[in-house]
Assembly symmetry: C2
Homo-oligomer: 210 residues x 2
């Protein structure tokens, strides 16, 4: 199972990497922070392939290195808290790249084996539609729209897609929001539930993790 994890250095990413390591015949870990990535890969016997999701050439090089995939997990993500009146274009670009554009560019270049799986970590839209999160909600709903079309475009290549809806998970993504709620899942718990769900046969189109 040739597996690529995008966003491997994030909170859920690291837990997913650990949980994937014994299951994947070959595990590629990607993210922007090369140092964390290298040490994580060393610990897990995986391979570090740093890339910036906003840079098309880096994604193209990444795709050539990892070859045809059986499993792609898109666990990248960014959040910012600011009202629409205080919106910054820098935040807009950062969230758009991490949550949406990065997936589009990854799908542009990556190759897939027949019967492969693409998994995207998503949200429960109603839970996050709160003041200050307009860009987060917009990019997270946007990526759902992208997935719905990708599903149809990649059907001929035999690629299946799963949107994972996650409740609050205790990661550093919550830092700008004042910390995770007490009910938040531990990232290891979230990772196990995600893997159990997405490795089921047939894989569900939407996996609701509670």
């Amino acid at each position: 199972m040739n597996t690529l994890l995008l966003g491997a250095t994030g909170g859920i990413g690291q837990s997913l990497a650990s949980a994937l390591a014994p299951r994947a015949s070959r595990l590629w870990l990607s993210g922007r922070n090369g140092q964390i990535l290298a040490s994580l890969a060393r610990d897990l016997g995986a391979e570090a392939v740093p890339a910036d999701l906003g840079h098309e050439l880096e994604l193209q090089a990444l795709a050539e290195e990892v070859g045809p995939l059986d499993l792609l997990i898109f666990a990248a993500g960014a959040v910012s808290k600011s009202g629409l009146r205080e919106l910054s274009k820098a935040d807009l670009e950062r969230l758009s790249t991490a949550n949406l554009v990065g997936l589009a560019l990854a799908l542009k270049y990556l190759a897939f084996n027949p019967n492969s799986r693409v998994v995207v970590l998503g949200v429960y839209p109603d839970l996050i539609s709160v003041p200050g999160l307009s860009l987060y909600v917009a990019t997270k709903l946007g990526v759902e729209g992208l997935l719905n079309v990708a599903r149809k475009e990649f059907r001929r290549e035999g690629v299946r897609f799963c949107l994972v809806r996650l409740p609050a998970v205790a990661t550093q993504l919550w830092e700008p929001l004042g910390g995770p709620p007490k009910t938040a899942l531990h990232p290891d718990q979230a990772a196990l539930r995600i893997l159990e769900g997405i490795l089921a046969e047939p894989m569900p189109e939407v996996l609701e993790v509670r």
Copy 2:
């Protein structure tokens, strides 16, 4: 009724401008094409205020010129047809600006009177989730997410929001898609149904035009 129409030179935009002219005490028409805008404004006794939705400074200047609004209609929009494998970053930027970011920046700078209305022209997501339209679907779903948060952030200012779901309308937006379907609404028909719906009291949060 101090009214601003963003995207006034598009197919639905021009029809909306004509239908709004007799109803608005002051009508501001905006778009990127200054010449079409000027001639449309002259014909309707409206005022042309050209602006590029991607340029923050232009939106800031526009906001100062038009003053507090009673009605904002966001009728801007762009489409491109390309599979995810052929995605171009230029298309990505163009669609993102016209369909999503432009509204975010407009809401950042525009001022509103109490009880004002913001109307965004949207889609039936299922109808457009077809191969080749991933970016269009992503930005159109994204703007719905943005609206759901804007509604909550602007409640205190007394601004109400309406998402208008439109079926196919015979405009030049269909050009890259090989022309509109035979069942497409005429833009004048669409404009009348939109105005009738959004000027109702109370204004619906979602207006489904058929």
